[in-house]
């Protein structure tokens, strides 16, 4: 018996694992290939078997043709709900994450979710994992609905933004490019000016606008660190806008959001004590601290939503191309 035939059948067998009639299927394929290989002129050769195998098709395709009766993992009618519900669940999850950071509290929504007390960097690291977990939960629920075979009408609020309908702008490409170009020039000017200030004063944040006697807001060390983070943010935005003049890929936005989240994380980890170079009333400090933290977390939330939106749109397009 040809080793090639046995290897081919073994491969089909691998893809058919779990099917009760696997042996029967393999016997019939073996019989067919032997019959076909023996048909040609001359001896029954390995080359003839190879030819017969090639005609029968790749092992995976053959196995799949026997499996095509089975129910899909998620029915086509429910596929769009995979990202719809994941987005809602993730938005809720993000809110809980922010609450865990701001209020320094654990949350337990028994038996679904345990939200541990998190630091800012931990929270930023946690969110992508949370997104994957939410996607998994929704996929499992849709899987069970599909396998039940029942016609379940899944709800979707009419007022909700449907990410399925987020499409790239069709017309007005020229105007979009002009605005992006203007944005890029403005951001480039801001970045350059910030770099000029930094080179001259080692900070870009001042309490007055008197350039003959500028008074920095922060102490030298803190001012340098915070200024560098902000300048990096400006530079990334400028670069993003410049790249977007040439490509409309959402991956550019994804990378921009990821870097922005990292920079916000760095800002949030800056020590607050001995931060200000000017005198500030003692009772005002906790309020300023809370306001700064709240503002940065709000920006982080908006950036995260934008990031998730772009990832969802990219994933949906990939899915649409595959199916």
């Amino acid at each position: 018996m040809s080793d090639k035939l046995e290897a081919y059948l073994e491969e089909i067998s691998h893809f058919l694992s779990g099917r009760a009639e696997r042996e029967e299927i393999l016997s019939e394929i073996r019989s067919h290939i032997m019959e076909k290989a023996a048909e040609g002129p001359g001896e029954f050769t390995d080359a003839a078997i190879e030819k017969a195998i090639a005609a029968f098709g790749p092992a995976r395709k053959v196995a799949e043709s026997y499996l095509d009766e089975s129910r899909p993992i998620i029915a086509p009618a429910y596929k769009r709900y995979l990202f719809r519900y994941t987005t809602l669940l993730f938005a809720f999850h993000t809110l809980l994450t922010i609450a865990a950071v701001v209020f320094k509290q654990d949350f337990i929504l028994f038996p679904f979710l345990f939200m541990p007390r998190l630091g800012v960097i931990e929270a930023l690291m946690y969110l992508p994992t949370a997104f994957l977990a939410d996607l998994g939960i929704v996929a499992v629920v849709l899987y069970f609905i599909t396998q039940s075979g029942k016609d379940v009408k899944l709800p979707w609020p009419k007022f909700a933004v449907d990410l399925d309908e987020v499409k790239p702008p069709t017309g007005k490409l020229l105007w979009s490019r002009i605005f992006t170009g203007i944005g890029a020039v403005v951001m480039l000017a801001i970045t350059d000016f910030a770099l000029y200030l930094f080179a001259k004063y080692q900070t870009i944040i001042f309490v007055n606008l008197d350039w003959t006697d500028p008074r920095p807001l922060f102490t030298p060390g803190a001012g340098r660190r915070i200024s560098l983070i902000i300048i990096t943010g400006f530079a990334v935005s400028t670069l993003t806008l410049l790249i977007k003049l040439f490509t409309r890929s959402r991956w550019v936005d994804v990378v921009n959001s990821v870097i922005s989240l990292g920079l916000i994380g760095l800002l949030l980890t800056q020590p607050f004590d001995n931060l200000f170079a000017v005198r500030i009333a003692e009772n005002m400090l906790p309020k300023i601290r809370f306001a700064a933290k709240f503002t940065l977390l709000f920006i982080a939330l908006m950036t995260t939503i934008e990031l998730v939106k772009n990832i969802v749109v990219i994933s949906r397009r990939k899915l649409a191309k595959i199916s």
Partner: protein, 118 residues
């Protein structure tokens, strides 16, 4: 009228779609006489109809699972062969499918005739 440039007609994939139903009728008709898979492929080829082997065998399995054909292994020859034959339920199904097919042909013929006079 749509001024979009139409896609090139992909007859290959549409033919596969059309063949799916036709192959059911063909197999149920052929199996009035007991045959094994390879002999069916060869027979169809002599009639000018090429069937993919990895389409035929899964179809035979599905038809058998539904009780429309029955099979038995013949071990008397030098090579084992699995012979298939149509069942009474398969004959009923074939009659129904042929009726559908004939009706589709009639509808198409009539529309073609109507179009000639437009």
């Amino acid at each position: 009228m749509n001024d979009k440039v139409p896609n090139d007609p992909d007859i290959g994939s549409l033919e596969t779609e059309m063949n799916r139903g036709f192959l059911h009728i063909l197999v149920l008709t052929l199996l009035e006489k007991d045959m094994y898979g390879y002999s069916m492929v060869k027979h169809m080829e002599t009639l000018g109809y090429k069937v993919e082997e990895n389409t035929l065998y899964p179809l035979l399995r599905r038809l058998e699972k539904n009780g429309w054909i029955a099979s038995k292994w013949d071990l008397t020859e030098d090579r084992p062969r699995k012979f298939y034959g149509i069942t009474p339920e398969g004959r009923t199904l074939r009659a129904g499918l042929l009726e559908v097919w004939k009706n589709q042909n009639r509808v198409l013929d009539e529309i073609t005739k109507e179009m000639r006079h437009v």
